[in-house]
């Protein structure tokens, strides 16, 4: 039966997660150069459009319909049989469950754009978003949430460490390799143009994450309270450690570093949110900072222009969180399973399985999808277009336009004064 309290909370949580996509747009837009502000934001908005439509068409069915261990069937295609009765095993309407899960697919598609901003053309990105949401996101979600083989094998993932975080992170690496580096990468300093956007975006993402993790218990019950509270604790611990790392490395605590730390902490707790104690959540926050920080320092020294470090912030931190469950899950808190330190070494093996297969599938599938799109249309803008900026080239708009010297055009294409004269 439907529980009104559970339903009320998941309704709100869904809206919170939907907010994360424009928040990510703001975060990403601040990190790029001003001439690419709108294009970067638009890639995130594109995910809201394309991923939602694809999710309703087939994505939800592939993820959550019964099928085989790898992928769901077509039983819920075009939302067939998705109505107001509670979804099996939950106390919320099936339709709401679908919407809540849709919000995860949307933000994950938006995340990958961080790897290809400032040079990928908009049209092929739309095609990519459509294909990726169905062929990668829905498949990975089926594996851990929809009765797929990882879930059968006992892998625990509370809110999306596998499909969302590792899925986007390792796909981002593949996307960066296929699309290639920006023309000025490694030659010129390519700096964030608005650190305030970055901070505000990170803050709004954290806010939305309370719905992301807190809603993933699909109830207003104990596991949601635990996940919600851990979503406060872990990023706070990551921030503190990140401040320390910044101080040791450069003698100053940086704002963009702080924004990054918030994301890393939120990602780290995502898979573990409802499975570990608040104390271990604090420890996870501190530990998760280390590998992500290392990758962020190391990556720009390579030729790989994974522009906004989706791999470090999401792939690596998600992987850390997934493994952490295998060590410190505690059935006295979660009522489900214990990790190595609470007596079940087997859980760690189940978590390690996900860590082994998820990056491989995400990387390979993304690589093939982008190569295939590249056969049909050029993936990236020309060097000249890249130097003009993607806002003008792809959208015919600028983020910071003054209007000075702009002449109004009449609908038929002639400037107003010429039309009057003729």
């Amino acid at each position: 039966v439907t529980d009104t309290g559970d339903t009320a909370w998941v309704l709100i949580a869904t809206a919170l997660v939907i907010l994360m996509t424009p928040a990510l747009g703001l975060f990403y837009a601040g990190l790029v150069r001003s001439k690419n502000t709108l294009n970067t934001f638009m890639m995130c908005l594109a995910a809201l459009a394309v991923a939602t439509v694809m999710w309703a068409a087939v994505g939800y069915s592939f993820a959550f319909d019964e099928g085989n261990g790898f992928i769901g069937g077509f039983g819920h295609a075009f939302l067939n049989d998705v109505a107001l009765e509670p979804r099996e095993g939950t106390t919320i309407p099936h339709l709401l469950f679908m919407a809540f899960q849709a919000s995860f697919c949307i933000v994950t598609v938006a995340l990958i754009s961080g790897a290809v901003v400032e040079r990928m053309r908009f049209a092929p990105f739309l095609v990519f978003a459509a294909l990726w949401s169905v062929l990668v996101y829905a498949v990975l979600a089926h594996w851990v949430f929809g009765g797929g083989w990882l879930q059968e094998a006992g892998t625990l993932d509370f809110a999306g460490g596998v499909p969302v975080e590792m899925g986007s992170g390792f796909s981002a690496l593949a996307a960066a390799l296929v699309v290639g580096a920006r023309k000025d990468y490694g030659r010129q300093a390519l700096l964030p143009h608005n650190a305030v956007y970055v901070l505000l975006g990170a803050g709004l993402l954290w806010f939305g994450w309370f719905g992301f993790n807190g809603g993933s218990g699909l109830s207003a019950g104990d596991s949601s309270v635990l996940a919600f509270t851990n979503t406060l604790l872990t990023p706070a611990a990551t921030l503190v450690v990140w401040f320390g790392l910044d101080l040791m490395r450069g003698r100053q605590v940086t704002a963009i570093g702080a924004a990054t730390a918030i994301i890393v902490g939120c990602v780290g707790i995502t898979p573990a949110a409802g499975f570990i104690s608040p104390g271990w959540a604090l420890a996870l926050g501190a530990i998760a900072a280390l590998p992500s920080y290392a990758v962020i320092v190391w990556r720009p020294r390579t030729r790989v222009d994974e522009t906004l470090d989706v791999l470090a912030a999401h792939g690596v931190a998600g992987l850390t969180g997934i493994l952490f469950i295998g060590l410190f899950a505690q059935s006295s808190w979660n009522g489900v399973a214990d990790g190595l330190f609470y007596g079940d070494a087997g859980q760690l093996a189940k978590q390690a399985l996900a860590v082994a297969v998820t990056p491989a599938y995400a990387f390979a599938a993304t690589f093939v999808i982008l190569r295939a799109i590249g056969l049909v249309m050029p993936l990236r803008a020309t060097e000249h277009e890249e130097s003009l900026g993607m806002d003008i080239v792809q959208h015919g708009e600028e983020a910071y336009v003054t209007g000075e010297g702009a002449l109004l055009m009449a609908p038929d294409g002639l400037p107003e004064d010429e039309r009057v004269a003729s």
Binding site: G396, E404, G405, A406, L407, L408, M409
Partner: protein, 117 residues
């Protein structure tokens, strides 16, 4: 003593700085300006409003040099700023009456010679 003024594309500003650096021209100021040369206007649309952007973003370099550096400076500016498309910009050379280095009070020739160390 001459003042070399160049109006170039903003996306070529880094290349110009690089070319000037290689030509060992160190005293430079640059500013963002808006201007109009012969280039085709771009059309932008904001909701229902379509506009022709008459002014383009440009970057203006100002470099004070002694006579023997004028040609080097012009060459470096052209090399750094040229794309071959309409809208690459202009270089203007004007006479300069006096120059004073504020720190030392040096004038003219020695004021525009970079400090050697």
């Amino acid at each position: 003593l001459k003042l070399v003024i160049a109006i170039v594309r903003p996306e070529k500003a880094n290349d110009v700085l690089e070319a000037l650096y290689r030509a060992e021209i160190r005293g430079v100021s640059m500013s963002r300006v808006q201007g109009h040369g012969g280039e085709l206007e771009r059309v932008e649309t904001y909701r229902g409003t379509t506009v022709k952007m008459g002014l383009s973003e440009k970057v203006r370099f100002e470099i004070a040099v002694s006579e023997e550096f004028v040609q080097t400076t012009i060459d470096a500016l052209c090399e750094g700023a040229r794309t071959g498309e309409v809208g690459d910009g202009k270089v203007f050379v004007v006479g300069l009456e006096r120059a004073v280095r504020i720190r030392t009070g040096e004038t003219d020739q020695s004021a525009v010679t970079p400090v050697s160390k």
